[in-house]
């Protein structure tokens, strides 16, 4: 199954990309995908995760899901 992963702010700069498509095994959970991306790109511990535009925890992933990784927010 294919998962679209988006990166924002310092994470976008670190990866050098706004988004990418990742092939995942069926039944994979969010945290497992995030851990592999942390390892690949060296993201620090302060990381926020969203799944289909809502903050995510460790949900099961499904084909076509949109995941986003980004640092703590600083708007306002």
């Amino acid at each position: 199954m294919k998962i679209r992963v988006k990166y924002f702010a310092s994470f976008r700069e670190k990866t050098g990309k706004r988004e990418e498509e990742i092939e995942c095994v069926p039944g994979m959970r969010l945290q497992s995908l995030v851990n592999s991306l942390k390892e690949k790109y060296g993201f620090g511990p302060r990381i926020l995760i969203s799944l289909n535009h809502e903050f995510g925890k460790n949900e099961e992933l499904h084909d076509g899901d949109v995941v986003a990784l980004f640092p703590p927010v600083s708007g306002g």
Binding site: F70, V73, G75, G76
Partner: protein, 130 residues
């Protein structure tokens, strides 16, 4: 009403849109770019799809939790110079207490839960605000 936009807002127009005959209080907060040593400009990046959803949710909760009539939230995105407007929050209510409380609630929720980031650009260096 919520909006994420590159364009500036008119405080007068937003106030006019918030006013109701039944409202005796109107509280607004305007966030602007603050002068800091060596700061040239700031950039604001958003995850627009998610930020719009979260702002709508904050507006909905504010209307439910506080005795207010209307709320307006506008966050700008793009590059900004010192003094530029970046955020407008406006709340109209029957009385001041609810208007102040709702305005503060909306601001604090934005700072915690909306995917928006600021980057400060200085002469020869830059940093993401954490």
């Amino acid at each position: 009403m919520i909006r994420i936009t590159r364009n500036d807002f008119s405080i007068d127009i937003e106030i006019r849109n918030l006013k109701r005959k039944s409202c005796g209080a109107l509280c607004i907060f305007v966030g602007t770019v603050r002068k800091e040593q060596g700061l040239k400009e700031i950039e604001i990046e958003t995850y627009k799809d998610m930020a719009e959803r979260n702002l709508l949710e904050i507006e909905k909760k504010a209307l439910k939790q506080f005795d207010i009539k209307r709320a307006t939230i506008i966050h700008r995105t793009g590059s900004f110079a010192l003094g530029d407007n970046i955020l407008f929050i406006g709340v109209s209510a029957g009385h001041r207490k609810a208007a102040f409380a709702a305005c503060r609630y909306i601001l604090e929720e934005i700072k915690k839960n909306v995917p928006i980031w600021k980057k400060e650009i200085f002469e020869g260096r830059e940093r993401w605000v954490m």
